[in-house]
Symmetry: C2
Subunit: 403 residues, 2 copies
């Protein structure tokens, strides 16, 4: 038997206990040993909970119990979660987490501590919820030189964009409904401004490179400026608009990692990723594109990934599972120097200005619309695009990157 | 350094050498040790090949060389490939293969021999080419009770169906073009009759259950009877037609595994899997649906999966990688006793007969078509459906399962 402690009995933490108990037979078979949740750390008491008797309030109880070999950190945040994770790893206890903020900020350091103490720090649940994506990168696509990763990594924004696309609704009204349904937080900033997706692409990029990509240094643009008008033009161009978290390696050894809403062709497999689903498209130099798709959030999907990590820790007691992620900082490309095409929506009278500013582009008109016009620029440096875009002043109504 | 031998220098075998050499830096880093192709076994000589000097004709040379720790079996077939694999494993050499026929026929036996000799038999490349699907089942979705697996597992048939759908072309003409382009074999039977997909779903079902699903016992229907007319109705119903390899667990502990062309909603993520791409949709009781998508065949994608297995063997020298697949036979459900809805295409005058035979169904008419009519039956036992379908004689023009 292996004893497990769960830190934080919120949504994911209670899910972890539920998965271990409900799928006991499968979980224990796959682990090769019985898993037992000995402690649940929370500030609150849960007198009516079936596992309420396992709730404790003092982390030291867990830390000092030699019988606890695996800790699930499902608290979130980078304060106590960081301290507890460090202490657990230093005590030789493996830690499995869904805490993307902590992984993005202290991942390589915690991996090093784990290695030094012959235990593991695993974080499959930190990106893409229940979708296995960390494992494919670490142990399946190992023969590939990864050229890039593009993901829909935030379920809230993908739900909002899907509703805007299918119902022609505006951002504000869809956000409001998403909040009512619990698909969006009351303070939705981390999601709609792209910060959540940014942390996740920083983690994936770091694993792709084996070096550290600092999420705070990445260009991040949210979806608050996307309008239902943009979707009218996207549809006319057989495209969709998605919040993409992207990472691409250049020949010179630098990497561009960023988050931004992008117009993508309906032929792109990411275009069919709708609602709260997430997906990650990985491009390798031998395999080409492969995609991993599923529920990127939610209690049980996320908990399932945490428990898969627990099972891996149980299978690998005393052994360190290979993970390449050094503290050395990756060389990041400057987004303004990179090239791409843009979609511009502008007032109807400004076609000539657009053609003058971005020669060689393509006008997109939608039947029945007289108030505006669409324009696809040729591929150009971002800084050149924005210099000219700004100069167009009031004529332009919005712009979206093409991907 | 670890010495590797490649058995069979055909498409996949030469791809394996190419991946190891071309991605040397990544591969050796991920393996934690340098991989070196010491021997290539083939009946032919390759005097002009850059690795021609490594070609040998006698397997015993490889078998008796203590320095060879990993063997890639990329010969195909169940004759010599079986003998060589057994002998290699018995000599403690790990074997990595793309040979689905051998894995489907002797997988659990070879896994047992590997375990007994403290080495590994890995076969990621045997299903879905370069798409990681064996690893997600074995080491990622471990906290799940898997309820079912549905895959598009054959690139040739998916290419043909995609062309029929997009171009309105007939099966025969598309097959001919596919053969000219090298997407279909000159003898296309294994693909178009579903046998290839059948072996693959047998392997996935066995891994899902931890028991053996014998591919020869599975109901297998190919795509030769699908017509361009069927696609006209599929489109009208917002559906696509795909050759699905399906496996589903029932409450009574039995499993239905089968291969058949099915009509699926365009909302189903498998509907967007086009051309030579493959995908596997796995349904778990906690995670729900997750999907794995990519190139299901081809030299380099398949070789990439073989090399990923080689890297895993290198990482786990002297350790057995967990894989649940016993020789015990799984309990299979009788397809004729299972329930589903069917699409029937029939002559235009036979609506009343259809309604009488399958009451409670739904007529589907397509504007401008007078020669035939479509009908969706309610969900019913397969045997009841076929009993009634046969009785309709000349009135009916074809039927496709709904999935």
């Amino acid at each position: 038997m292996i004893n497990v402690a769960v830190l934080g009995y919120g949504t994911v933490g209670s899910g972890v206990v539920e998965v271990i108990e409900h799928n006991k037979e499968q979980v224990n078979k796959k682990a090769g040993i019985e898993l037992h949740v000995k402690y649940i750390l929370d500030l609150r008491d849960f007198p009516d909970d079936p596992y309420g008797d396992r709730v404790v309030h003092d982390f030291n109880l867990i830390l000092q119990d030699q019988d606890v070999k695996i800790v699930c950190e499902t608290m979130g945040g980078v304060g106590a979660a960081y301290q507890f994770t460090r202490q657990a790893l230093e005590a030789g206890k493996s830690v499995c987490t869904s805490n993307k903020e902590l992984v993005a900020k202290h991942g390589p350091e915690l991996l090093e501590i784990a290695k030094a103490h012959n235990c593991n720090y695993l974080f499959e649940a930190s990106v893409g919820g229940g979708i296995p994506i960390i494992r494919p990168l670490n142990s399946a696509l190992t023969a590939e030189k990864i050229e890039g990763i593009t993901g829909i990594l935030n379920g809230t924004t993908n739900y909002i964009l899907t509703k805007m696309e299918t119902e022609g609704a505006d951002f504000d009204s869809v956000l409001k409904r998403a909040q009512e349904k619990g698909y969006a937080e009351r303070n939705p900033e981390a999601d709609v401004e792209g910060h959540d997706a940014c942390r996740k692409i920083a983690i994936l990029s770091s694993l792709m490179l084996g070096k550290t990509v600092d999420s705070e240094k990445l260009y991040t643009e949210g979806i608050t400026k996307i309008t239902s008008d943009d979707f009218v033009y996207a549809k006319a161009a057989n495209c969709s608009v998605k919040l993409l978290a992207m990472s691409r390696n250049f020949e010179d050894g630098s990497t561009l990692a960023m988050v931004a809403p992008c117009m993508i062709s309906k032929e792109n497999p990411l275009a069919m990723v709708n609602g709260v689903f997430n997906a990650v498209l990985v491009t390798g130099n031998m395999l080409g594109d492969s995609m991993y798709y599923g529920k990127g959030a939610g209690k049980l999907p996320t908990a399932s990934a945490v428990v898969a990590d627990v099972i891996d820790c149980a299978r690998h007691q005393g052994k360190v599972i290979t993970c390449f992620w050094d503290q050395e900082e990756a060389k990041l490309a400057d987004v303004s120097e990179t090239e791409r095409a843009f979609f511009v929506r502008a007032k109807a009278h400004s076609v000539k200005d657009l053609e003058a500013a971005f020669p060689g582009g393509r006008v997109l008109t939608v039947e029945g619309r007289t108030q505006d016009v669409g324009y696809f620029t040729p591929v150009m440096k971002e800084k050149d695009f924005f210099a000219k875009y700004e100069k167009l002043g009031d004529s332009v109504l919005g712009r979206i990157r093409l991907a």
